[in-house]
Each structure stands twice: as structure tokens, then as C-alpha cells.
Amino acid sequence: MGWFALGARYAMGAPAVVMVASHIGFGAFAQANGISSAAAVFSTVAIWALPGQFVLVEAWVLGAGMFAIVPAVMFTAARFLPMSLTLIPLMRHPRHGKPAYFAAAHLISNISWAAVTPRCDEIPVSERLSFFLGFSTCCWSIAMVSVAAGYALAGAIPRSVQGALLLFVPLTYLLMLTGEVRHRAGRLALLFGALAGPLAHLLDPHWGMLAGALVAGTAAFGLDRWLRSHG
């Protein structure tokens, strides 16, 4: 089996479940807010960042203008900078052309970053991009279909079931990251990040998330370096 197929196969487990669960939720949300099914699916194709898509629909329905919507969506996507910055170098290999990285970058999302980054050690450098593309295109396609399905099923899904579906999102990241991240700096970053996230959100729901992660990540990095020189 090629690495593209291996990536796709890796996606066809828990990642597929979390894609279905969360995107059904988005489809139902779009339907409830009077956005067309085509526009909802298109947002998944073009934006491919669920928090931003929720913000877009919410703001659009409230009648917000372009100058209010675009910065709000852009703000929620800032996490992609550190993600792309750390995942792309792991996939670099002379056999890939520059455009390949820019194309792959569009597919970087929470799920693909969290699933592929810790796995890179086990994949030959030249094959990492293939594995990533197999994984990501699989998640992306499942997400598109799920948005359309959620849109069609909206109203038929009880509120309690919607809540349970949404629970797949934090559970997947909690298990995936605690299980797959083995190096000390990463583990410290997960621990500090887990504590900082809710605290920072209480302080400021907009900038808190990023500021808290910056502090937590820097503390983890610093502590790891300190332990390395003193341990």
C-alpha cells in the first residue's frame, strides 16, 4: 500500500468519525440560519476551518458587513501559522516542488496537524507529504458530504444528540495528543496548554486563547530546555 493510501486509511477511523460529527453540526447550523446548502459546502471546500465557518455564518445572519466578518474569521485562523510553520518543514523533500507545499498548506487543519505531526517520525521523509495528502483529502471529502447531510437532516437531529456529536471533537484531540505526543517538550506544552486554555478564555474570549497558548507553549519550551541543561 502506498503512503497516500496509508494516510487515507489512517483517516478512516476516529478522524472520519469526528469529521462526520462536527460537520453534520455545521450543516444543521447553516440550515437553521438560512444559508443555502451549496454555500455551506462551498465554505468547507474553500475555508476548511470550522471555527471560522461558524463565525462567518453567525455574523452573516446578524447582518454584519464584510469589514466585520473578514477580520473575525481571519482571527480564528491565526492558529494555522504555527501549525503550517511546524508541519511543512517535516514534509520537505527535494523531490517535491515548491507549489506542492503551498497546495498542501490549504489542507492543514486541526485534525490533519494533530494526526500527522506526531506520526512523522514513523514515516520516511520523502513519503510524509503523500501520507498527509491522503489523510487530509480523505477528511476533507468526508467533511463536504457531512455538511450536505447535516443540512438535509437538520431538524431531525434532537438537541441532545447534537450535544453528544459535538463531544467527539474535544475527545478526539484529548486522546490523540496525549497518546501520540511522546517527547517531553510536547507533553509539557499539552499540560500547560490544557490549563491555560480555559483560564485565558475567562480573561478574554478573543485574544485569550492565543495569548494563553503563547505563554503556555513558551513555558513548556523553557522548562524543557532548563531540564535538559540541569537534569
Binding site: W48, P89, Y101, L171, L191, G217
Partner: protein
Amino acid sequence: MDSARLWGVIVICAVATYLWRGLGVMFSERIRPDSAVFAWVGCVAYAIILGLTTRIVLMPSGALAETMLSHRLLACAVGLIVYFASRRNLLLGTLSGVSAFAIAAQIQAAA
């Protein structure tokens, strides 16, 4: 309601979102995976994802906000236990966690 304007907004938001990803690719040309900067940015990214995760569990919005905190924490505990007991079977772990949550919610509703 659904006009060409909405599609236009989606396209512009897509460009705005991609900007971060594209900038990451551009900057990453100057970062070696064995450098300190790389390790530091990686730590920040891990902190972002797990911070977002615990925030959703402790302070959710939408339909999840109508569920009980104790049930959500139970789901995390069961999920983690099953995941590690099954030698890191992610699907089994998440399904067990959500099942525990659903059962707890049913018992609560019946009581």
C-alpha cells in the same frame, strides 16, 4: 437572503484564512526541524490545540452547553482509560467516551 454577496464573503474569508497557512509555508523555508525556534513554535501549537480542547469541555457553547459538566468529564475519563487500556485504539476510546456520556445523560433524564 443567499446572494452573490455571501459567496463573495466566503471567498474573501477563504483567502484570509489561507494567508496564515501560506505565510507558514513561506517562513518555514528558513526554519530547520532541529532548531530551537521550531521546537518552540511546536510547543505553542500543541498548547493551542489542547487549550481549545479543555475550553470546549469546561466552557462549551451551542448544543454542548446544554449538557452537564460532570457528564462531559466522565466522557473524558472513560475515553482516556479505554484508549490507553486498548493500546491506544482511538476509535474505541472516543466511542466509549461518548457512549458513557450518553448513558449518563439518559440516567439523569430518567431520574
